[in-house]
Symmetry: C2
Subunit: 431 residues, 2 copies
């Protein structure tokens, strides 16, 4: 009860601050960001010391090597954090933009203006750099932020949080940033739909899935990245081999790496052995459908489960298909709506693929690995979304704003626009 | 179990159809819409006969007069339905628009393209005209639609549905429109988050609230419309009286009518008696705070409950405030984020109000009753949203689309953009 009350109070404070934050000028937000970058620099030793303490505890608690790697901060990471915050200061302010203007009638104008969303909840595991990055993005877009970190990063997070809060509250409404302690349950945060307008979870697929399934608050992000490359009968096979290798091997542990290769039967005999040879360089384990195994005789058989699996590893499932439509059907059935590519020189085929594959990112003749906020030129990435409302695919600052309508009248009443002598609206689009 | 299986099958069919619908040309969609308008005309007598049957049953079941009025179709309503469908055919197709183009590097272009959302679930009470209107909007935006009507309109809905399906499936993928019978529980539909991408509930506040609180599917709409007008110390009092009268009395039963009047103390003594006199014309019941009652001695006392109430009736609560900031605070605390207006000739004050009031529509010197898709010139209205993600305020066809990213490469691999000899992205904005 005590804890619940404490979290409630923090959420209320953030909500109140967010209402004021919507009126803060871009200039003040940028000053706060530069202040944060400097504060992280100034407090570097303190932050690294806190992180060492967390690492010691984590080792005692037998945390996995992957998690330890995510948890660890060093000079290089601190410098990346500082550079990241500074780069957010340089991005255009996504809030306060006039998106459209319509004259409804003489003297009555309607403006559609971008605004902050309100209060963003960020729930993250291990990586303390996520705390700074997301706080900077929320700040720039004018949103209050409630941070809930994992217990393994308790000391690092609270040191980073103190540094950010102390300097930023010189420029911004008090309470705009809140850290929810590690003993408090994630469950409590997930119930705060009255105060939190959007949740951004950062962590493992399992973690994100848990968040998505246990809250009424809209969640921005993705749990799975089951990405496909379809090599069409009209593909340049040399290009196809290179792109497939890049999509699988350039960094296999990430969400935009290829997990399933679909191959048109007309080129399978020629293409699959070339592909197998290339994949041997990187020791990729191949698992094929029955038709694929007729060509690549020594590989494992792929099961139904394989089509649904994000390996995040040097494993690839391969399926032979009769047509682009069969490829599209397979992707829409087993994919996760993240990123899918076609290799073909037939424009009609690639147009069909790109129109009908229902994913945030679709590609022709390039690697699925390009699906990323930095590579897409978004400036900064909040995450990659497989949602079909609000924001989809790699999401930059724009995903942290919504809009409101502002009407500017001179005494206009609706009664004048109804009845027998009704005035007519002009509905003239000005912008 | 039988019913559950049937609904599942309908949802699966809609999902499959939606994947094909994304590739249907605007022209075919418009032909289907004109076909629907003609089919409603041709089947008019059949529709009216079915409606009479529903009305007879409804009377037997002692349905309220309000619900009977919503349920009833006549020649005029049928003509309005036909005109509505035809007007949707004339609207611009919101899907397939290229929203932005960025050159990532030479030969590698990224297009941001608007796309249908997928499958829209529409749950509605009583009004059978909502079935046709929303189906037309879903069709135009390229979305499959699953309709769940109320049992009181069973015969009307199924007759309308048959007419729409029969003609539209000549142009569109079979299964794009589904009617879920009346015996099936709304509860089953709310569980279909695997298939339905967005829910649009149409009905009473209580009904919409129930939907919002009992599904994991994103919901577009609003339950309450607690709208405010704040009369500032720098208001033109004659204008303020006229606008307040319009906002309360022009149509008190709707969501964008004023429910609470906030008055600056500096003009209260002059303004409130003028307002009271005008409101007497329309027999409006006034309820005031303690300060208000010092001026308007004979009115009822407003309680805490009044500030939270959407009367939808000729009742108005009145509160005196010390400043625009107190007005903003009251609105953000008790309002529903729907529509709020300020009456003032002080630009600094109105700017502050419009920036800091956290509602979908904010207004200066005009009536809250303007917050409406038709009046805003959106062409057609899906509903009014108090959401803070995806779509907000009056929502037109644009609220029924999302976007995807399409990358067009010539064999581009991410490996070339990493390591020591990394290529640099150009990130040149083309559109």
């Amino acid at each position: 009860m005590q804890l619940k009350y404490k979290i409630l109070k923090q959420c209320e404070d953030a909500k109140l601050a967010s209402a004021k934050l919507a009126g803060v000028e871009t200039n003040a937000k940028n000053k706060a960001l530069i202040g944060i970058a400097n504060a992280v620099k100034k407090n570097k030793n303190k932050i690294l010391a806190a992180n060492k303490k967390d690492l010691r505890n984590a080792k005692k608690n037998n945390l996995s090597d992957v998690l330890l790697k995510r948890l660890k901060l060093d000079n290089i990471k601190i410098n990346e954090i500082i550079a990241g915050v500074k780069s957010v200061a340089k991005l255009e302010d996504p809030a306060g933009k006039t998106l459209a203007v319509t004259e409804l009638d003489k003297g009555l104008n309607l403006h559609k203006v971008s605004t902050p969303i309100g209060v963003i909840g960020v729930i993250f595991e291990s990586r303390p750099d996520a705390l700074v990055q997301i706080s900077a993005l929320c700040l720039k877009s004018g949103n209050a932020v409630i941070l809930k970190g994992g217990s393994e990063a308790e000391n690092t997070n609270s040191t980073l949080f103190e540094a950010i809060r102390n300097v930023s509250e010189k420029y911004l409404p008090k309470g705009w940033i809140q850290l929810i302690g590690t003993r408090e349950e994630v469950k409590e945060v997930l119930k705060m739909d009255e105060f939190i307008d959007l949740l951004i979870p950062r962590g493992s697929n399992k973690f994100v899935k848990y968040i998505q399934e246990n809250t009424k608050i809209p969640v921005l992000g993705h749990s799975e990245g089951i990405c496909h490359v379809y090599v069409d009968k009209d593909a340049d096979l040399k290009m196809a081999v290179d792109i497939c290798f890049d999509a699988k091997c350039q960094y296999p542990a990430v969400c935009n790496a290829m997990e399933t290769l679909l191959v048109h039967k007309a080129i399978a005999k020629k293409f699959l052995p070339l592909m197998e040879k290339k994949f041997k360089e990187a020791d990729v384990e191949l698992r094929g459908c029955a038709e694929t195994k007729k060509i690549l005789k020594n590989i494992k058989k792929a099961t139904e489960e394989d089509w649904k699996t994000e390996y995040n590893d040097l494993i690839l499932s391969i399926k032979m298909v009769d047509s682009v439509d069969e490829a599209i059907g397979h992707i829409n059935k087993y994919g996760s709506g993240h990123t899918d590519a076609i290799i073909t020189n037939n424009k009609k085929t690639s147009d069909r693929f790109m129109d009908l594959v229902d994913s945030g990112s679709v590609m022709v003749n390039c690697s699925t690995r390009f699906a990323d906020g930095f590579r897409y030129g978004l400036g900064a990435e909040v995450g990659i979304s497989t949602n079909k409302v609000h924001a989809r695919g790699p999401v930059g600052l724009e995903g942290l704003v919504i809009y409101k309508y502002k009407s500017f009248g001179k005494g206009h009443k609706v009664a004048d626009y109804s009845g027998k002598k009704a005035r007519e609206f002009t509905h003239k689009r000005i912008k």
